[in-house]
Each structure stands twice: as C-alpha cells, then as structure tokens.
C-alpha cells in the first residue's frame, strides 16, 4: 500500500466520522423515503384523435417520471440535513485533530501539508457524495420493485443524469464553503455555526441563493434544463474549486494550531 493510500484510508477510517456517517445515511434515507411515498396527481388532457388508452409513449412523459424528478426538490429536510452533515464532516476533518491535541503528531508525519489537505478534502468529498447517492439509490430501487423496468428507462437517461449533476453541484458548493470556514476560523463551534448558517439561512429566508437554488433545477432537468450552462458551471464547479484552492493556501501557509 502506497503512502498516499495509507493517508487516505487513515482519514476515511476515522471512527468518529464513520459513527456520524452511520447515523446520517439512514436518517437521510428516511427523510427522502417519507417524501417519496406521497402520491402525486395532475389534470391533463389529450387530443381525441389518438386512442385514449395505453399511450405507448416514453415513461418519461408519465407522472411517475414527474414525481421521480420532483420529490427531491420538495424534500427540504433531506437537503438541510445533508448541508449540516457536510459541514460537520469537513469541520471534524480539519479541526478535530487540532482541538484534541494530536494534530502535532499528525503534522510531524513525513507528509507535506498540501498532501494532508488533499487527503482530508478528498475523504470529506467521498463521504459527502456517499451521503447523497446511497439514499437516492435505495429510495429509487426498493419502493419501485414492481416497476424496475420503467424506473430503469426513466433513470438511465440524460435528464436524470443532469439531475444527478445538479445534486452534485449542491454537495460541492456546500463542501467548499464549510472547508473554507473550517480552515479560516480557529474554533470548531464557530466554524460550524458560520458555515451552516451561511448555507441554510438564505433558504429559510426564501432567497434564491446557492447552494439551495440548485434544488429548483432538479425538477426542471426533466424538461431539459442543462447543468452545463455558464451560470450553473460557475456556481457548481468554478467557485467551489476556487474556494477549495483558497482554503488550501490558507491551510498550507498557516501554522498548525
């Protein structure tokens, strides 16, 4: 095992973070599942020139597809808990060793500070993406055991892929904000309050701000909204990358404690 893998597996195997992960994934799945198990209905009309029976159209036009794209953006509790957990994970990765006092022994290992930053960021990124994808996978598969073929036809499309990219943008933006605050502020509690409030307060205030403005795009990706437009790439990829670069510089230039 190379030294990089050792470092990464050491960061991923942190017992406290894994314990929170074990609590977090089922809670997120529960919140998502409760919102998935709500019926949805609409009034529609078709032209009588086609027979009004089984339409043989793509299942993407059915209301099941609409529900599969919309329940995610309606499930506010899921996204608030996800933002909270991402903040907690990045703050535990960057600040816990310093506040517990074993940071000196970690930072005296034969790794550069840049490598340590990369390993910590990568471990938090992997855990955050697992927090997003495991509930999505389980809630997408288990309650739809009777119609797996239809669900496969709906989810293995460009549009569902676009939805997943919008959801990933949410994770990247939240992650970069909380990493920035956890290297900027010298106290775990302060860093948590600052990053969580900055992420969630605009949503409570009803402002159309990142990262929660990606949620309204989740449902719109069914009607063809693309995550590769300049505005979304800017807020979902470029700004998170810039913020991570800034936090990396702060991490490398600052003293350990």
């Amino acid at each position: 095992m190379g030294r990089w893998e050792t470092l990464l597996s050491w960061e991923m195997g942190d017992p406290l973070r894994l314990a929170i992960f074990l609590f977090g994934v089922p809670s997120l799945t529960y919140l998502l599942g409760v919102d998935y198990l709500k019926p949805q209905w609409e009034i529609a009309s078709i032209s009588l020139s086609q027979p009004p029976l089984y339409s043989h159209g793509s299942p993407l036009n059915s209301i099941t597809a609409a529900h599969l794209f919309e329940y995610l953006s309606l499930s506010a509790g899921f996204w608030i808990l996800l933002a909270l957990l991402i903040s907690v994970f990045s703050i535990l990765a960057f600040r816990y060793d310093r506040e517990q006092g074993y940071a000196f022994s970690v930072y005296s290992l034969p790794f550069t500070k840049g490598e340590l930053f990369a390993a910590k960021t990568l471990s938090v990124l992997l855990i955050s993406l697992l927090l997003l994808y495991i509930p999505l996978l389980i809630v997408g598969i288990v309650p739809n055991a009777d119609i797996t073929g239809v669900i496969r036809e709906i989810t293995f499309t460009d549009r569902y892929f676009h939805l997943l990219i919008f959801a990933t943008y949410f994770v990247l933006f939240s992650l970069s904000i909380s990493v920035l605050f956890s290297v900027l502020l010298k106290n775990m509690f302060l860093a948590f309050i600052a990053s969580f409030f900055l992420l969630v307060l605009p949503f409570f205030a009803g402002l159309h701000w990142p990262p929660f403005f990606f949620l309204s795009m989740l449902a719109r990706s069914l009607s063809g909204a693309s995550p590769f437009e300049t505005n979304w790439v800017l807020w979902g990829l470029v700004i998170p990358a810039a913020l991570l670069l800034v936090s990396g510089l702060i991490f490398v230039r600052r003293d350990v404690l």
Partner: protein
C-alpha cells in the same frame, strides 16, 4: 483500520433499508386528497386525471355525472376498474401497485374527488425489502464472526 470502511458501508446500507421500512410505517398513517377534478371530453380533447401511486393504496373516491368511468394502469396498459356511472358512484378504488394511473370518462363527463388514508408496500416490495434486510444482516454477522 483497513476493513473498517467497507464494513461501515455495508452496515449503512442495512440501516438505510431499515429506514425505508420506517418510512413505510410513517406512510401508512399519511392521508390526503386527490381532486376535485372534472373529467370530460369536449370537442377534440379528453381531459383526464393522472395519479402517481407510490405503492398499494385505496382511493375512497366519489364520482358524479354520467359516462363510462375507466381507471387505467399506464405501464401495463390494463384496466384496473371500469364502470358505467349514471348519476353517482362512491367506490373504494384500489391502486394495486406503484406506477402511473389514468382516470377518465368515455362518452360523458364526471366530477371526481377522492381521499386516501395510507400508502402500503406491495408484496413484491415487501419481499425485496425484508429479504435484502435479512440477507445483509446474515452477511454482516458472518463477516464479524470471522474477524
């Protein structure tokens, strides 16, 4: 240190499946309304109600008007229910599994409203859910036993 992450991942899958079970327990107590809606064929267009059912549910529905009522499962194409309504119909409509349903009236117009008092997992979903929980739990026990 090396075996911890895969074990935690498998355990989180198990706990998430239990959370889906919990979500079904919550959904069994959820209630709500569908409608009211008017289903009619006027000229060249036919208006209908389409419902996404997340599982097995009973829609206590009432219809007023005249016409042939049809409830269609969109994915299998089969008629779940059809009835010739002449004035009024009060009927507990069973949507037998998850998927999209279409409710419409042929040769007439009907008003429709319904309410449901819970969403339940179908037998297939129960098999998948409890089966995967059992298999995963046994695997995890064996894994820890060997360790």
């Amino acid at each position: 240190m090396k075996g911890r992450l895969p074990f935690v991942l498998a355990l989180s899958f198990l706990l998430s499946l239990l959370a889906v079970w919990g979500a079904y327990i919550t959904a069994e107590k959820s209630r709500g309304f569908v409608g009211p809606a008017v289903m009619a064929s006027s000229g060249e267009t036919l208006s209908y109600v389409s419902i996404h059912s997340p599982g097995w549910m009973v829609l206590n529905s009432s219809f007023n008007g005249a016409g042939e009522l049809v409830v269609l499962d969109e994915f299998s194409g089969e008629r779940v229910f059809s009835y010739n309504v002449s004035e009024h119909l009060n009927y507990p409509l069973v949507l037998p599994r998850e998927g999209s349903y279409r409710i419409y009236a042929i040769n007439g117009s009907l008003t429709f409203s319904g309410h449901y008092t819970g969403v339940y997992p179908t037998p297939r979903v129960q098999k998948v859910l409890y089966g995967s929980i059992t298999v995963l739990a046994l695997l995890l026990v064996l894994w820890r036993w060997r360790a």
